[in-house]
């Protein structure tokens, strides 16, 4: 006897939801998925009427589904938003150039304007050249920091009011675990917020925060959406990989673990005596920063001077010295150079 959809109870069930285990038919699944995103948006009051919203599009499944769902919901519930696709080219051959083709196809399919910013034009470095200097271990830091700024710069160029990214429940759960393992208290408090940002910076939000990665894939599959599905070639060595494999194992034991981790993360509270970083502005580029110079400027400085480890690690005093253009001793310089094998 075929299993019937648990919602309409008329059609045959096409899939089993990873999130709750219910069996649903295709149409009901689409509707439920979109309703859940709609609920996330409305209950957190993410958008206001008439705003211009930039969708961070990488060509991958999360951002493709996000673009699609935002478009559908914008029409269905009349949010009154102006949607734009925003894409970042990090300059990773074999990965990013292919995914950018996907984004261009998306633009045609969804009829949304597209803007691409690249590391090359913003910073003068591509990820490939960075990896050649830094090595394979700490390059995710560079890519992440630069990309955040690049998205903001692109958004400012287009005069966008809000940015939304395709971070899903798995991403947020991984981030909670990773920050906990690293003892990063400051980030632990912020990472579960569905909407982040403060004065001076363009606010960002994650409408897909409660959507499981597997459900996003199911949605894209059944809707026959076009996306690019390869892992970044530099990712195997990232620390996040540990948190990710742990989370995948957790999910196989108990599917609700992902939401449980997010729930735990949301309810963590820190003692008041703990010192938190204060927000200020970068002395060079004016971007928001908790230190005198923002991380991107520090990293760039290091790259340009041939001292790639300048931004990595905690050599505050030496960094200060460097940035005031004082010469370093031989030993100090060695600390910042890459370990060559």
């Amino acid at each position: 006897m075929p299993v019937l959809c648990s919602r309409c109870e008329i059609k045959k069930a096409h899939l089993k939801r990873p999130k709750t285990g219910h069996s649903l038919c295709k149409e009901c699944f689409f509707w439920v998925f979109e309703e859940e995103v709609h609920h996330s948006i409305v209950s957190a009051k993410l958008f206001n009427r008439g705003e211009t919203v930039g969708i961070g599009a990488s060509g991958g499944k999360d951002s493709t589904v996000l673009a699609h769902v935002m478009k559908v919901l914008n029409e269905r519930y009349d949010y009154g938003l102006n949607l734009i696709l925003l894409s970042v080219d990090e300059g990773i051959t074999g990965y990013r150039d292919d995914s950018l083709e996907t984004v261009k196809r998306n633009q045609e399919q969804y009829e949304l304007p597209l803007k691409i910013v690249s590391y090359e034009e913003l910073y003068g470095w591509t990820m490939d050249t960075i990896v050649k200097q830094v090595g394979l271990k700490n390059n995710c830091t560079f890519c992440g920091v630069f990309r955040r700024q690049a998205l903001d710069r692109g958004a400012m160029m287009l005069e966008v009011d809000k940015i939304c990214t395709g971070h899903n429940a798995d991403d947020v759960a991984e981030t909670v675990l990773m920050n906990f393992l690293r003892g990063d208290i400051a980030r632990l408090r912020r990472c579960t917020a569905i909407s982040t940002g403060s004065e001076g910076a363009i606010p960002r939000c994650k409408p897909l925060k409660y959507a499981y990665e597997k459900e996003i894939v199911l949605y894209a599959y059944f809707k026959k959406l076009d996306y690019f599905s390869t892992e970044c070639i530099y990712s195997p060595n990232a620390y996040r990989g540990h948190a990710r494999s742990f989370l995948k194992d957790l999910e196989s034991i108990r599917p609700s673990s992902i939401i449980d981790v997010i729930h735990s993360g949301e309810n963590l509270s820190v003692k008041e005596e703990v010192r938190m970083p204060i927000q200020g502005n970068c002395a060079r580029c004016g971007y928001i920063s908790s230190q005198k110079l923002c991380k991107a400027c520090v990293l760039l400085e290091g790259l340009n001077r041939g001292l790639p480890k300048l931004g990595i690690g905690k050599h505050h005093k030496l960094q200060d010295k460097l940035l005031k253009s004082q010469p370093l001793t031989e030993e100090e310089e060695k600390k910042f150079k890459m370990i060559s094998f």
Partner: protein, 533 residues
């Protein structure tokens, strides 16, 4: 971001390590080093012992929670950490210790063989081994069997709070009083007794004595082992059935922990102990922290793993071994001959992904091998957390607590856009709407009938056995916190829960119902009315 530091230090470590891990103890610099703890600290035998003992004393002294002459119950499972705890307390109280410890210990051991499926012979042997260790310590001990969970009264689930007092002043006064009475009295016994009268335990003494009169019927069961088992085979079967009804090992482990805690609390209350010491080591706590995050207990991390756990009001659970890594404890036990007994638990020899707790343990151990600072980082993070919602009625009036774990309820309902709401919406949307409609605030219990047509809990036709009992209405779910809900969801039938839990659930539900009926006429909450003079 500490592991980045590790990377940058790797190079220098290689050169320095030859110098650092020298053959001399790093403290006294004279005797040859015997062992290395942490990354590069070498100690000789005597310095290590000093370091170990000092840490224990400092832990107790810094937190100032154990009053002189207070009765403290040591929960000893027989494993290395709790055996080490027992040994430290023994040494600390013995005559040759400088500055003796000042409390009165007792020992409790919870025998869990029934849950793990051990035979009576195996259990007898283990208990006999433990008995010999406990008798050499000279402290009064009690062996409680898991089966006795079925004879607990429902009052064990209630927390008894007193008015908040200035802890620091009390402590200093108590110490001063103790020192004085020790000087004036000659006999050691007299000293202990006088201080026991002076120490300011709260007015729940009357309540404790109520419990003990209630427990008279059970007094024979909670007594020292007399050569016969204080439980019946039916109770063993009931325990086995209870654990067999839990579908996942994760839920089994959580339930076992909860029952164990209730038994310890009960023993502490009827024997008049006001503190319980647990032997959780740093490594074990780091695993517990991460596992609790994965189980949805993020809000209560500080209480589950902090130094003191004040949830139960009159009994405080403290963890003095929390700064020792498992490695240090193992070294100490080996070097100084601390006896311990290995008891197989629920997840011994289980595959890695059998339960969340087991998976977390293997994850952290593996990560520790690559990044040696993992455990201490997690530990340090846990020190920066605080309990988000305070427990005492004076601060948070009219809060309800979870039936099983005694944590504050309702935190998930405070935010509109939270993970809990998201999952409730998901559950609601994925099912067809019935005329009664599903409540958003309590999750529905349909895992047991997931393969049949989905129905909400109020509708009839669910073939689940538990429907027949009156107390498995949605109200039952509202008595549990987020993670306890997940544990109970894994059970096939709620009837198998011990009587005291079901009784207490009924009582709380009736009370909520009464309160609802008279809600509009109440001016203050009940806690206000209680504490008014």
């Amino acid at each position: 971001m500490c592991d980045l530091d590790e990377g940058s230090n790797e190079d220098s470590m290689g050169r320095d390590s030859v110098k650092r891990i020298s053959s001399k103890c790093m403290k006294c610099k004279e005797s040859p080093a015997l062992l290395i703890i942490r990354v590069g600290d070498a100690f000789c035998r005597n310095c290590f012992k000093e370091y170990f003992v000092h840490k224990f004393r400092a832990m107790l002294g810094k937190n100032r929670l154990v009053f002189p002459g207070e009765k403290v119950l040591l929960a000893v499972s027989g494993g290395p950490s709790s055996s080490s705890l027992l040994f430290q307390v023994q040494e600390g109280l013995s005559h040759k210790a400088s500055k003796k410890l000042r409390f009165v210990p007792g020992i409790v051991h919870i025998e869990e063989g029934a849950a793990c499926g051990k035979t009576l012979e195996e259990r007898t042997k283990i208990v006999a081994d433990l008995k010999s260790i406990f008798s050499t310590s000279g402290f009064p001990f009690v062996i409680v069997y898991l089966e006795e969970v079925f004879s607990l009264p429902s009052s064990v689930l209630q927390s008894i709070f007193s008015l908040p007092t200035e802890k620091d002043d009390l402590y200093k006064d108590a110490v001063a009083g103790f020192m004085q009475s020790c000087h004036t009295s000659v006999k050691k016994n007299l000293c202990h007794e006088t201080v026991a009268q002076e120490t300011t335990l709260t007015e729940d003494h009357t309540h404790a004595s109520l419990l003990s009169t209630h427990a008279h019927a059970n007094e024979t069961s909670i007594s020292a082992f007399r050569g016969k088992f204080p439980f019946s085979p039916e109770q063993t079967e009931a325990v086995e059935k209870l654990f067999a009804s839990m579908k996942t090992l994760t839920a089994k482990e959580e339930m076992l922990q909860t029952l164990r805690k209730h038994l310890i609390l009960y023993t502490a209350r009827i024997k008049g102990y006001s503190k319980v010491m647990m032997g959780d080591s740093c490594t074990r706590l780091a695993v517990k922290l991460l596992a609790n995050i994965c189980l949805g207990r993020g809000a209560f991390l500080a209480m589950d793993t902090g130094f003191s756990d004040p949830r139960h009001g009159d009994i405080t659970i403290i963890r003095p071994m929390r700064e020792y890594s498992a490695k240090e404890i193992a070294f100490y036990n080996k070097l100084f001959g601390v006896p311990s007994v290995f008891t197989a638990g629920l997840n011994t020899k289980a595959p890695e992904k059998a339960s969340i707790q087991h998976l977390t343990e293997s994850f952290i151990v593996k990560l520790q091998a690559d990044f040696p600072s993992t455990v201490s980082t997690i530990y340090r993070t846990s020190e920066k957390l605080n309990p988000r919602y305070s427990q005492t009625p004076a601060d948070d009036k009219g809060t309800e607590t979870c039936l099983l774990c005694s944590c504050v309820l309702g935190i998930e309902l405070r935010d509109e856009a939270s993970a809990f709401r998201a999952i409730s919406i998901s559950e609601e949307l994925s099912q067809s709407k019935k005329p009664e409609g599903g409540q958003v605030s309590s999750s529905t219990m349909e895992e047991c009938c997931a393969e049949n047509k989905m129905e909400t809990l109020e509708s009839s036709g669910c073939s689940c056995q538990s429907r027949e009992r009156r107390n498995t209405t949605p109200d039952f779910w509202s008595l549990l916190c987020y993670s306890c809900k997940l544990v109970v969801k894994d059970m096939t039938s709620l009837d198998l829960l011990p009587e005291y839990i079901l009784e207490e659930a009924n009582r709380r539900q009736r009370r909520t119902q009464i309160k609802r009926e008279i809600q509009e006429y109440l001016l203050t909450s009940e806690d206000d009315a209680d504490t008014a003079p």
